[in-house]
Symmetry: C2
Subunit: 375 residues, 2 copies
């Protein structure tokens, strides 16, 4: 078959320069502002948001974006450097029980601190609320006199167990390889703090440890298509990682890393070693990864299944298209906004919701064309 | 083992915001300027460059960056839209014979044009040169009355065969699936234009066809660690692809694509279909990929084995870290320069050399710290 000269043009011609070529056509609006270092958020069944502020406050945000007064009864936190009140998670039976979970840097009497997780009952109190029956269900051991590498995201596994991501506290770096403690680990416990029967419990492993060799894991999400845990780990100067932590495995920090010391010089033994897991994807230089969400909404139908990765220093959301654990495409979004993205969630409205650490905003990302407002 | 409070700090603390976090520490300098739509370049053994300009000129660039007068004897080209004088390649025995290869849009007497490849002897002529014994060794058939989708990179396979990448001319889109012609194909011939004995030659396939189902392939390079061909293909609105074209395979255009029509609407049958190959990596939205180089120099030791991908509308070089055909990390470089990158090559000095289509420059990229000058 030969199509000769003068055949009708049935397709619009490509030029080398389709515009706009650099970014998907999206819109960002500030849903709320006035927060101080917001860290974690959850959508409540009544349409409000629950947001943590690192200095130690938990607030409702109403459907019109107004902040409530701080919720009473939040535990004391070590609000030093990266520490403070960190993530928030609703219990699966929240509608019935009002139970929420908080992660935070917990101060100790000896002046040290560590990552802790508490659960409590959230009770309405006028336009705000209070926490009752607060109980600490996890304490990272050992503690350290440090303001760094607390982790700590909270996410429910498909089986109702609770994943807690921790960090190496920087000062305790070698402990990330010591399976007998919870420094630099992914931890898995039951909703009441007890130990799941099917945790790895390898010889020498603390019973709550799921995987070892992590530096500071600030992002965690369950991937819808395989039900598995994926995490984001802060590297040092370079070497941020997307991991798929599996039970009983060693993710290598600080023996292997794609990063370098801030003060110069290499770390560990290189980038790969037998018996140590490789990341699914990594960033050199670092974008300072925060949290991630797997998108499965209807507002961005072409993004279903994509991982949306927040970046702090990288001031972006990076959209990764995955085929199994192979990243087959990536797009940098919102870098021009210049905002430090601390949390990334999909809202019940199908929009992408972000917390901006530096500007204290809750941002809502929708297609530029048109999008329904949240109810 | 427990490291208590007051343990000495032996590592510099991470902050969330290492600076600079957004890009590797590199420097770009303009080595030469004053070119009009430069398209392809080659490094000559004497240290000069040979550069094509799409309107139909071939020039030397001296070691001090000065452009020579145009080299005489270049064939007439169809310098319309994306067409014109395109790639240049040195014969493996160039030092002995002076033989070079050129790809270009060749005008036909009936007003149509098509991609052609000629070889000729480059002979010195004062400060410039002339081509002698020019012979056309490949002509894409059928031709079309079109200014689009000419391909066309030239690269030597490890076995000394010549890969020529073509395009679908936009008007001949369905022909990309017709293996009997050379529209939208990767072509493989010998250095003299004859057909290699081990070409696929599947039933119904033209003997010079290596793989089918391509849209417009502007990038081609042999990957050092496996000796295989990798190509970059322009998608429509979205769907630029990095491919690893293997003999006798079908890369799907226009049956499957991650792109969309410029005039709106979908193309073909979706993004995947049995019997059609998936890209190694793709870009949605498009960055308008041009050429790529696999880096194996010493100036950027950490980038060895990485693919460096040029972007026109995306005004960037994208650095991809590959583990087999799995992209495990990506970094966008030079986007702030805002220049349309048409060609990416590694120089004999280990620097990364670029052609900027819009500014008419030859750019040289080196580490910011220090770098030897080219001799």
């Amino acid at each position: 078959m030969l199509i000769g000269a003068g055949a009708p043009v049935v397709w619009a011609a490509q030029t080398d320069a389709p515009a706009p070529a650099k970014s998907s056509n999206i819109k960002v609006s500030a849903f709320a502002s006035g927060l101080e270092n917001p860290w974690g958020m959850q959508f409540l069944p009544d349409g409000r948001l629950l947001v943590t502020e690192r200095p130690g406050r938990l607030r409702y945000i109403a459907k019109d974006g107004r902040l409530s007064a701080p919720i009473a009864g939040v535990p004391d936190v070590a609000a030093v450097n990266q520490g403070g009140l960190l993530d928030v998670l609703l219990a699966p039976d929240f509608e019935k029980t009002g139970t929420i979970y908080l992660s935070y840097g917990e101060p100790r009497e000896d002046g040290t601190n560590s990552t802790a997780v508490a659960r409590a009952k959230l009770v309405a109190d006028g336009d705000t609320g209070r926490l009752e029956d607060l109980k600490v269900i996890f304490r990272q051991e050992p503690s350290a006199d440090s303001g760094h590498h607390f982790g700590s995201r909270l996410v429910w596994g498909k089986d109702g167990t609770l994943f807690i991501t921790t960090g190496d506290r920087n000062k305790l770096r070698p402990e990330a390889q010591n399976p007998a403690n919870t420094v630099g680990k992914i931890v898995r416990i039951n909703a009441d703090g007890s130990i799941p029967a099917d945790n790895p419990k390898l010889p020498g492993w603390a019973p709550e440890v799921w995987s070892i060799g992590h530096r500071s894991v600030q992002g965690a999400a369950i991937r819808p298509d395989n039900g598995k845990l994926y995490t984001l780990e802060h590297g040092p100067r370079g070497g941020d990682e997307l991991n798929h932590p599996e039970a009983g495995k060693n993710y290598g920090w600080p023996i292997i890393t794609y990063g370098k010391e801030y003060i110069g010089g290499s770390i560990g033994e290189g980038t790969a070693k037998e018996g140590l897991e490789q990341p699914v994807y990594y960033w050199v230089p670092s974008i300072a990864v925060s949290n991630l969400a797997f998108y499965d909404g209807d507002l961005f139908p072409e993004w279903k299944g994509n991982a949306l990765v927040g970046g702090l220093a990288g001031t972006r959301v990076e959209r990764l298209v995955l085929n199994g654990d192979d990243v087959v495409a990536a797009e940098v979004l919102l870098e021009d906004q210049g905002k430090r993205i601390r949390d990334v969630r999909q809202g019940p409205d199908g929009a992408i919701w972000l917390l901006a650490d530096d500007t204290g905003e809750v941002l809502r990302v929708t297609p530029a064309e048109a999008a329904p407002k949240p109810e």
